[in-house]
């Protein structure tokens, strides 16, 4: 669908809130808290090469969590942090996009959603990962639910929604500012002992999600009570040179340039595999590997599993050659 930008507002350092609506003012499709929309940003140069990442030539597809109320479908709002490692998406939103501009948008969707059966909820956000977590907090407050929100960021001025949280969720919210470059959030204290019906939702950098999963596991939590979402593409890869990727089952070898993911290269080569999130979260594209070294950038595999398996949607080869069982 084609929507029009109605408002852009700086809400925290390097963070802008963008509002989009139907040009004729028609109601937009409904959504659940935690859902995201995908925008096709006309950036000129596309960072990725797959059809899935690119809409039309010269567009970049980017997903942003909705922070507006599901009860108000007259517009959608989302927050965008300008990132240094941006492939062009957040830079475009911050410096080129203006009210009145038209954007092609895919309707809201997402698998990051609140469990209906939860009797207690702990929310843990890092940085701009606050966006779906803020939507959850609003929904939980509206239901008068039992919830706690832990929000960690580098500095106070970078904390989007901090004022709104303190005002409306004060007794449920704890903010943590980094000290000496490290988060002051004590995950073990925030997570605590597991109990029936208690669910954790976390969104933030990969290291935070890995930390939440590890600490919760150590405290005896069941994996299906921990829900997580990374924000945007995984951290920038260190891969700088092409990798020779051998697909052992297909009996093919392809060259993978640094700006193409292993999954994109495998698909391009005609490998036979499934995929879904493309952010290293769902594990559907997981494949066994051998004869190579891997930089694991997923959040779904255990350290043990990473000895033999990788998520080709985000993880990269560190060696010049790599063989996958596909």
């Amino acid at each position: 669908m084609r929507l029009v930008v109605t408002q852009i507002e700086l809400i925290a350092t390097r963070t802008k809130l963008v509002r989009v609506a139907d040009p004729q003012g028609a109601p937009l499709p409904s959504f659940q808290p935690g859902a995201y929309i995908e925008l096709y940003l006309p950036c000129g140069h596309a960072g990725g090469s797959s059809a899935r990442e690119q809409g039309a030539p010269g567009t970049l597809r980017r997903a942003y969590s909705l922070v507006s109320s599901p009860h108000d479908t007259s517009s959608y709002a989302f927050a965008v942090l300008e990132r240094d490692e941006s492939r062009g998406g957040s830079r475009f939103v911050h410096h080129t996009l203006a009210p009145g501009a038209w954007l092609d948008v895919n309707p809201p969707r997402g698998s990051f959603k609140l469990a209906a059966s939860a009797t207690r909820t702990t929310l843990i956000a890092g940085g701009i990962g606050i966006t779906p977590i803020y939507a959850f907090a609003e929904a939980l407050r509206a239901k008068d639910a039992d919830y706690q929100l832990h929000y960690s960021a580098r500095t106070r001025d970078r904390m989007a929604f901090a004022d709104a949280l303190l005002e409306s969720h004060g007794e449920h919210t704890k903010l943590y500012i980094n000290r000496a470059g490290r988060t002051s959030l004590d995950l073990a204290a925030a997570i605590g002992a597991p109990s029936t019906g208690h669910h954790i939702y976390t969104c933030g950098p990969r290291t935070m999600i890995e930390g939440v999963k590890r600490v919760a596991h150590e405290l005896g939590w069941r994996a299906d009570h921990i829900h997580f979402e990374t924000f945007g593409p995984a951290s920038a890869s260190t891969q700088r040179t092409p990798v020779s990727l051998r697909l052992s089952q297909s009996d093919l070898t392809v060259q993978v340039p640094p700006d193409v993911t292993l999954l994109e290269a495998m698909e391009e080569a005609g490998a036979f595999l499934d995929s879904e999130c493309r952010r290293g979260e769902c594990g559907k594209c997981t494949v066994s590997y051998s004869a190579g070294e891997v930089e694991h950038l997923d959040v779904c595999l255990s350290d043990e599993a990473r000895q033999t398996q990788l998520c080709p949607c985000v993880s990269r080869a560190l060696s010049d050659q790599l063989t996958v069982d596909a």
Binding site: Q249, F272, E304, A305
Partner: protein, 306 residues
């Protein structure tokens, strides 16, 4: 070619009940009306195929067909799957083959446990004789590797008797319950009232399927592709067939019965929040004559803890 809105009423109902309709729509892009070219080679490497079928008279049935590498072939640009049958095996002794006729609906699951790759192939019987079963493909798509335990095929050189039912009954006995309780894998065949069948894989830690005292099976539903092909069928037609397989000995347990869905059951410890229950009405056990045996290499890293 892709298929527009490939989901039937039961699938859509479950997708909406659990709030995963949007993800199902996203994933439906991978459903094609023929076998994709990258899967031809995959099929040619396989040694077995899981097949399901149902008709109004007999209910659902599930089976496994074996053959040498190359016994499965995609033909006619992927519009057809040809299955070479074992001429030594009497089709009348097979729960699915014995009931097949041209036009009959088949749900197929081509699965390689060694590389955790799987392909769904659903279609209709074009022709069928003692040597070959030819299917016209209606739907085909890849499934993800999650919950598949890695096993490699090993040839068993010992002579085996012609496969024959070794036991059957209605109430599950202790030997059957013990096999189910130790299993880390099952196959399930379900059928929409229109007759379209699905054959699907379920996996988890050994014991992921619980057997209650009265013989009811409790099967957890872990996060999957959100399409709910199986649960969608069960929502409209509870009759299902389950297959448990002792991969080391070749013992196969076929169950036919009825399922009930528990999509938002209370989160009792030890039971996944989403699960389904199955009551066997009849069972049949056989030991495969085939020389194919499978050895466990590694369980899925996605299995929840036992």
């Amino acid at each position: 070619m892709r298929i527009d809105n490939p989901f039937h009423d039961g699938e859509q109902r479950v997708q909406e009940l659990v709030g995963e309709r949007d993800i199902a729509d996203l994933n439906s892009g991978g459903i094609g009306d023929r076998i994709v070219a990258p899967a031809y080679r995959f099929l040619s490497q396989l040694r077995f195929l899981v097949l399901g079928h149902a008709d109004a008279q007999h209910g659902s049935e599930a089976t496994v067909l074996f053959g040498p590498a190359g016994f499965l072939r995609a033909e006619e640009d992927g519009a057809v799957l040809s299955i070479e049958l074992d001429p030594m095996r009497d089709p009348q002794s097979d729960p699915v083959l014995s009931k097949l006729a041209p036009g009959g609906r088949i749900g197929g699951l081509a699965i390689d446990l060694a590389t955790r790759r799987r392909l769904r192939i659903n279609g209709r019987v074009r022709s069928f004789d003692a040597h070959q079963l030819v299917l016209e493909v209606r739907e085909s798509y890849a499934n993800c590797p999650k919950y598949i335990q890695k096993r490699v095929v090993e040839l068993d050189e010992r002579p085996h008797a012609e496969s024959a039912p070794t036991a059957s009954g209605s109430e599950l006995g202790e030997p059957q319950r013990a096999l189910i309780r130790s299993s880390d894998t099952l196959f399930v065949v379900s059928v929409h009232p229109s007759g379209e069948a699905d054959a699907s894989h379920r996996g988890g830690p050994p014991g992921f399927v619980q057997v209650e005292d009265d013989g009811t099976l409790v099967i957890p539903d872990y996060a999957g592709n959100s399409m709910f092909n199986t649960l969608g069928n069960l929502a409209t037609n509870p009759r299902a067939a389950l297959l448990f397989w002792d991969f080391e000995t070749g013992r196969l347990l076929h169950l036919a019965g009825r399922a009930t869905l528990h999509l938002n059951g209370s989160a009792t410890e030890g039971t996944a929040e989403r699960h389904w229950r199955f009551r066997a009405e009849r069972w049949r056990e056989q030991t495969l004559s085939t020389a194919v045996r499978l050895r466990l290499v590694e369980r899925s890293p996605f299995n929840p803890p036992a």
